[in-house]
């Protein structure tokens, strides 16, 4: 059988791209589920499977045992030795209509920073629950992280259904508890699937053991989820990355603003404002190496030509005047603290937002986020590793920002250590005034 995402099929059906993430507690069978998805979509090739079979035997498994699919995904020596997943691993699988980029995230509490990383780019999150244990503290934390980072689609995979005799009541109880928690956190779309990752039930193939389940298999759902719509429907945001000025005989006066549309749609003829500087012009052309195009949508890398010779460069953002982001020199935000050293008020940091990096001071910690309710409590003295809290930042230069709640692409920022350059926090712009 061939690999499914090739162009060798007779149809010219489009192959779309879905970025997703997985999260589960330790021993929920997440690596096995990922291995199962890869295997059942023929994304694991013979030599890879052979290597896993050899490793299974080397670790004391029987020659006739099912290959330990977790060994496929645990890429680092320490992970295989300890039998745990330490770092985000990226996996690729495909069906004839869709390619999947999967950020496989470890479940341990101390690796929440990886869960945040995986969720930041995901359009869908799969949260695993062990059918025998139901919703546990870790589940709530993964759910909260997905809700906090506004992952648009959520899937609850109730795993190890084989160990509870594929009991519908067990599944429905977990589904109800999870859905209630998700709804209270404002997650709009939750689909629950009863699976056995080990045996493949309802992963890629419908299970005969769950006649009471009428929903899609996990893979069917992953193929059907709509993608990219929200980014296109948001107001247009174009952060300028670099200015292209060839100054050659062929292009003596070419001055193109190169960038990737963060959200919305940009069309030739649009009125635009440049932020934070506030200049105004009209889009005279949208250029690509294949020639000019009339329009570009969120996610596309293009080069924009303006009708007027404005002072615009890296760090500026183009928007429509009537839908402009707000320009601020004070920022209210939620910070997910990713560094070992705690954050205390007064810290001097860098804020990287879009294509602009500015100096900042954290003037105040306004509260710690309660992951059960996504509300703030108290005003902590410090924010520790893996904690999420509200903060106020004073910026050395203004930034053009959106609320993270309305635009994931222009509402997120990095907090960076000015001394050693390390990433200290994921920042989410809080609701503006």
């Amino acid at each position: 059988m061939g690999r499914p995402d090739g162009a060798s099929t007779v149809t010219d059906a489009p192959v779309s791209l879905l970025r997703l993430t997985t999260a589960g507690s330790v021993d929920d069978g997440k690596s096995t589920l990922v291995g199962r998805l890869l295997r059942d979509t023929q994304s694991i090739l013979t030599d890879q499977l052979d290597a896993v079979s050899r490793a299974t035997v080397a670790r004391g498994g029987g020659i006739d045992d099912e290959p330990d699919l977790a060994l496929l995904t645990d890429g680092l020596r320490a992970e295989r030795e300890q039998g745990i997943t330490i770092d985000v691993a990226y996996r690729y699988f495909a069906t004839p209509t869709r390619k999947f980029v999967l950020a496989d995230c470890p479940g341990h509490v101390q690796y929440t920073r990886n869960t945040v990383t995986g969720a930041s780019t995901a359009e869908l999150a799969v949260v695993l629950v062990d059918a025998r244990n139901g919703v546990v503290e870790q589940t709530r934390r993964h759910l909260a992280v997905a809700a906090f980072l506004r992952v648009p689609h959520l899937v609850l995979a109730v795993n190890k259904m084989d160990l509870v005799g594929f009991d519908e009541t067990t599944f429905r109880r977990i589904e109800a508890e999870f859905t209630t928690a998700a709804t209270s956190l404002g997650v709009p779309d939750v689909v629950s699937v009863p699976v056995s990752a080990l045996h493949g039930d309802n992963v890629a193939a419908r299970s005969a053991a769950t006649p009471w389940y009428g929903g899609p298999t996990l893979l069917e759902h992953l193929e059907a989820v709509p993608i990219g719509r929200e980014a296109v429907e948001e107001p247009m945001r174009f952060p300028v990355q670099v200015v292209i000025r060839p100054r050659t005989a062929e292009h003596p006066d070419y001055r193109g603003l190169a960038g990737r549309l963060a959200s919305g749609v940009l069309s030739v003829g649009d009125q635009v404002v440049t932020l934070p500087s506030g200049g105004r012009s009209t889009v005279a052309g949208i250029d690509t190496p294949d020639g000019p195009v009339p329009q570009a949508a969120a996610g596309e890398s293009v080069t924009v030509l303006l009708a007027d010779d404005l002072d615009v460069g890296r760090g500026d953002m183009l928007a429509r005047p009537e839908q402009a982001p707000r320009v601020v020199s004070e920022l209210e935000a939620d910070l997910c603290w990713l560094a070992d050293r705690p954050l205390r008020p007064g810290a001097r940091v860098l804020v990287k937002h879009g294509t602009r990096t500015v100096r900042a001071i954290v003037t105040e910690l306004t509260g710690r986020l309660d992951l059960h309710t996504l509300t703030h409590v108290g005003a902590p003295e410090a924010l520790e590793l893996n904690e999420i809290g509200g903060a106020r930042l004073r910026l050395a230069e203004p930034l053009a920002v959106d609320d993270y709640a309305t635009d994931r692409h222009t509402g997120g920022f990095l907090v960076i250590d000015a001394a050693d350059g390390n990433t200290l926090a994921a920042g989410l712009v809080a609701k503006g005034p």
Binding site: D5, P14, I86, T121, G259, L414, G421
Partner: protein, 313 residues
């Protein structure tokens, strides 16, 4: 049988970039390349002439079109490369008017900084010339065509991945990579390896070569060649030391799925002579390109992780 994927139908007149996975991967790579050029002082692109580096170069040229490429190329040449690939490398450089630095492993062996290995393979010897060249030219960002689907250790690598002053990679101390905000801050002596093709698979690369008509060396397509068999792979005779006594040279119709050091890169028997035929073959293949053709990756379960920790590509 078609070589390219046509654009999907419009959705309410507008297509999100992700509705066409090749377009999405292309836009992502172009975005990464532009970010790095904007934030680093001295980038360089590792160009071996292989298909991944050919695609990477194509994307870099697109990123700055119609302007010139704002950085040069670097090749660590083991001296055991296929002549067709070196010829392709030099033709691309001349035709496009690019700058190319070549670090020849032979020079390091000649002046005693490196010693030839008993097995004659020079792939692991590339690390030192690579790190020396990065230091000598003070490159602070090094673009590479590595993909996460190639290896389990690579699957854990960031797109912008920091290296310490010794070129080492510490997988447990990687910076979280959030949204599409790449943090390339580094201190003097450190540099970043940048992998714009991180999210591409071998099949994506071939589909992209077909869609954009990207030039690659002719040995990726089926041709007749004198080869001999070793460890289940078809190797080409050459200065690197093959064949040994008892290894018989035969003529076969073959092509290469990867091109690297001739001592450890095998050909596969194939009649795929066009991009369409190669695509069909890669799509149907049940063996990864590295499993089929790279002896160096069969060394151990953690071969790539160990080499990467030491500063390998």
């Amino acid at each position: 049988m078609t070589a390219t994927v046509t654009a999907p139908p419009a959705m309410n007149g507008i297509r999100p970039a992700d509705s066409d996975h090749l377009a999405a991967l292309e836009s992502e790579a172009v975005h990464i390349i532009r970010e790095v050029v904007a934030e680093f002082d001295r980038p360089v692109l590792l160009f071996s002439g292989g298909k991944d580096s050919a695609v990477l170069l194509h994307l870099a040229l697109r990123a700055f079109h119609p302007g010139p490429l704002p950085f040069g190329l670097l090749h660590v040449d083991t001296g055991h490369n296929f002549p067709e690939v070196i010829e392709f490398r030099d033709r691309m450089v001349t035709d496009l008017g690019l700058r190319l630095h070549v670090a020849e492993v032979q020079h390091w062996i000649d002046d005693g900084r490196l010693t030839e290995r008993p097995d004659g393979t020079r792939n692991p010897l590339q690390t030192v010339p690579l790190l020396d060249s990065i230091a000598e030219h003070r490159f602070d960002a090094v673009f590479g065509g590595a993909r996460r689907d190639e290896d389990r250790a690579r699957a854990k690598e960031r797109i912008v991945s920091l290296r310490d002053a010794f070129g080492g990679w510490d997988p447990r101390r990687q910076r979280p990579e959030l949204w599409s905000l790449y943090n390339g801050r580094h201190t003097a002596g450190e540099h970043a390896r940048v992998f714009p093709l991180s999210n591409w698979t071998e099949l994506d690369v071939w589909n992209y070569i077909a869609r954009r008509n990207v030039a690659v060396p002719a040995i990726y397509y089926a041709h007749e060649r004198e080869v001999f068999q070793r460890d289940g792979m078809w190797l080409t005779a050459g200065d690197w030391g093959g064949p040994r006594r008892g290894e018989e040279i035969v003529r076969r119709t073959v092509r290469y799925r990867t091109v690297g050091d001739a001592s450890c890169t095998g050909a596969v028997e194939s009649t795929a002579a066009t991009i369409e035929e190669v695509l069909a073959e890669v799509t149907a293949s049940r063996i990864t390109e590295r499993g089929a053709t790279r002896a160096d990756d069969r060394l151990s379960e953690a071969a790539m992780e160990d080499r990467k920790r030491e500063g390998y590509f």
